[in-house]
């Protein structure tokens, strides 16, 4: 495994304000080894090493993917379906971080194999705490399946 080629976190977020607030919270938790995708298509290109990411090794998977559901081009549930449906990528932990409290989104996400489903709080302190805790849990506490 080449640690230099491997990012900690893939953040899939289209909303610029949410993106900035999330990055702010991650930075405060000293989590900065990450990649940003602004829509579902970018996220898939990165994960499956296509387009601008051709040549990247699919085994150099992020330690966790933070995924919004409502995304341009390819929506979050479709991204989740593709990642969890492919044997090469299905063991990558995916956390849905969304505004949607809709039961059908929650149910479908879990049926597709999501590892965690988090509703973004409106209150910034709580939002920041959630992002920090997520980062700490998935990057420091969780023991990942080694891609080698």
């Amino acid at each position: 495994m080449n640690e230099a080629n491997r990012i900690d976190l893939l953040l899939v977020e289209d909303n610029p304000q949410d993106l900035e607030l999330t990055l702010r919270a991650l930075r405060k938790a000293n989590l900065s080894n990450l990649k940003i995708a602004r829509d579902g298509a970018e996220a898939l290109e990165y994960v499956f090493c296509e387009g601008p990411h051709t040549g990247r090794k699919i085994t150099d998977a992020p330690k966790v993917i933070l995924l919004d559901l409502k995304l341009p081009k390819v929506d979050g549930l479709e991204v989740l379906r593709r990642i969890k449906g492919d044997p090469r990528t299905k063991s990558i932990p995916v956390v849905v971080l969304t505004s949607s409290r809709e039961q059908r989104d929650i149910v479908e996400s879990y049926q597709l194999g999501v590892n965690s489903y988090i509703v973004k709080p409106v209150n910034y302190e709580r939002f920041a705490a959630v992002v920090r805790d997520l980062g700490l849990y998935w990057l420091l506490l969780n023991q990942p399946l080694n891609g080698d």
Binding site: K70, S100, V122, N123, Y124
Partner: protein, 510 residues
């Protein structure tokens, strides 16, 4: 001598003939006045009179009274004129029984041509007469039945080729054809074209096999109008078992069919309407779902930005801001957060109408204890006196009922916050057909004049500065209880606390 021999031979022959006649027939001889001069044994036997009782009497002794005077008069006048009379006569025996005799009356004349005597030769035809009478009676019965049938039903008879050989008046009336137009035609003359070939084929094959066919047929009258007949087709077979003729008996069921058609039309109209309404409702539901999805997702994002960036300003540039500026940013933040809560509550409320109920037995006591624990009981920071009675178990959706208790108990805690000693009572009553639960407190209470606003969405009876809240909690309580088939109500006085009641049916309808 020869003449004497011949005479003797003739007499012998005559004697033989008479003996043969007596053997065969009922014989009587009367004089011109009608008095009986001779009867043979057969006459005595059939009339049951002895010879002595009969001789010297006239024929009135065996008169049955059956024949009209005219008949008797005609008889006497015929034989009075020296002519042979032949006919059938009903007589009465001594014992009162009747018998019929085929009778030939032969007058014998004297030299002046006047009747000298009458010879009556009779044959017993009682049996034949009885059979005739029976035949006539049953023929009459058949005639009566046919008349009754014609009165009641539409009748037609066809030959084996299907040509109409008989129709009654009712057939003509309903088909609007004259009898002349129908006879010799086959039934295609009234074919409506309504029935599939298969139907007609089945009909002919049934009666062709000698079986009765029964069904409902739509026919076409001469004027182009249609009529429905309930039809029974009965084949009558010849000695070889081949249909000899078909009798069709029909009843007019046009009105019934029309009513059925109207009913079917109404039913399908109703089904169409229901389908339309359902589609509309589903569309509205989908729209509502899309709406709340957008609310859920899109309305929260800007609020997060308002709150988050206000906080970012406070964190990054706090020291540069005057105190008033910092306070304003906090006001912006609390506004955004409050709107976040409102959206969440509103979505919860909207979801309640869509979500299905999962009814099951609920241990109310355990449910309430878990809610109290979630609300932080026992409360160490403030004095709360809590009295909880034994609560009857109920049937309902445990998740939704928990929401009800959560809202009512958190309200009780909220509105007693300013009391030195808060007092909360939780109790339940078992009524005949419902359970009544209530939560009472000694809190702020409210003015009963505004009680009707309590359960409305976004209706509040207190200022936000005094008691925070979105005004959706009691609306949620009411919606949940109503969906369980129960009621909610409250009693209160301003400054003296409030009691909130709700009922649940004890045998909920499924």
């Amino acid at each position: 001598m020869k003449t004497e021999d011949q005479l003797r031979a003739s007499l012998k022959e005559l004697g033989d003939l008479k003996a043969a006649l007596d053997e065969h027939a009922i014989v009587a001889i009367t004089d011109p006045q009608g008095r009986i001069r001779y009867v043979n044994d057969k006459f005595c036997a059939i009339s049951k009179y002895t010879r002595e009782e009969l001789l010297g009497q006239d024929h009135r002794i065996i008169n049955s009274g059956h024949h009209p005077k005219e008949f008797i008069r005609n008889l006497w006048s015929t034989i009075g004129r020296g002519k042979v009379w032949h006919g059938e006569i009903k007589n009465r025996a001594k014992d009162g029984t009747f018998y019929w005799v085929d009778t030939t009356l032969v007058p014998f004349l004297d030299e002046e041509g006047k009747p000298r005597q009458y010879v009556a030769i009779r044959a017993d035809i009682t049996e034949r007469k009885r059979a005739e009478e029976q035949l006539e009676a049953s023929t009459k019965e058949v005639r009566d039945l046919k008349a009754a049938l014609d009165e009641h039903a539409i009748v037609a008879i066809t030959d084996p080729q299907g040509r109409i050989t008989y129709v009654n008046d009712k057939f003509c009336a309903i088909s609007k054809y004259t009898r002349e137009e129908l006879l010799g035609q086959d039934h295609r003359i009234i074919n409506s074209g309504h029935h599939p070939k298969e139907f007609i084929r089945n009909l002919w094959s049934t009666i062709g096999r000698g079986k009765v066919w029964h069904g409902e047929i739509k026919n076409r009258a001469k004027d182009g109008t249609f009529y429905w007949v309930d039809t029974t087709l009965v084949p009558f077979l010849d000695e070889q078992g081949k249909p000899r003729q078909y009798v069709a008996i029909r009843a007019d069921i046009t009105d019934r069919k029309r009513a059925e058609d109207a009913l079917n039309e109404m039913n399908s109209e109703l089904e169409r309407k229901v389908a339309d309404r359902t589609a509309q409702l589903e569309a509205a539901n989908r729209e509502l779902e899309a709406f709340s999805y957008s609310v859920s997702h899109d309305l929260r994002a800007p609020l997060r930005a308002i709150d988050g960036f206000s906080q970012a300003v406070i964190e990054d540039h706090g020291p540069l801001l005057p105190e008033e500026g910092q306070r304003h940013l906090q006001v912006i933040r609390s506004g955004a957060q409050r709107m976040g809560t409102l959206i969440d509550d509103l979505l919860t409320f909207a979801r309640l109408s869509r979500q299905g109920l999962s009814r099951q037995p609920v241990n109310t006591g355990n449910l309430v204890r878990s809610v109290l624990a979630e609300l932080g009981s026992p409360w160490t920071g403030r004095p709360v006196e809590l009295r909880m009675d034994d609560l009857p178990s109920c049937r309902g959706d445990p998740v939704l009922l928990k929401q009800v208790w959560m809202n009512l108990l958190s309200n009780a805690l909220k509105y007693t916050r300013k009391r030195e000693q808060a007092s909360i009572v939780i109790s339940g009553i078992v009524e005949a057909d419902e359970l009544i639960f209530f939560v009472g407190d000694n809190g702020t209470g409210f003015d009963m004049r505004y009680a009707d606003k309590l359960f409305g969405v976004f209706q509040r009876l207190h200022r936000v500065e005094d008691f925070e809240g979105s005004g959706v909690g009691l609306a949620i309580v009411q919606r949940i209880i109503q969906r369980h088939g129960g009621r909610v109500w409250a009693k209160a006085a301003l400054g003296e606390g409030a009691t909130f009641y709700f009922s649940l049916p004890s045998t909920p309808k499924s």
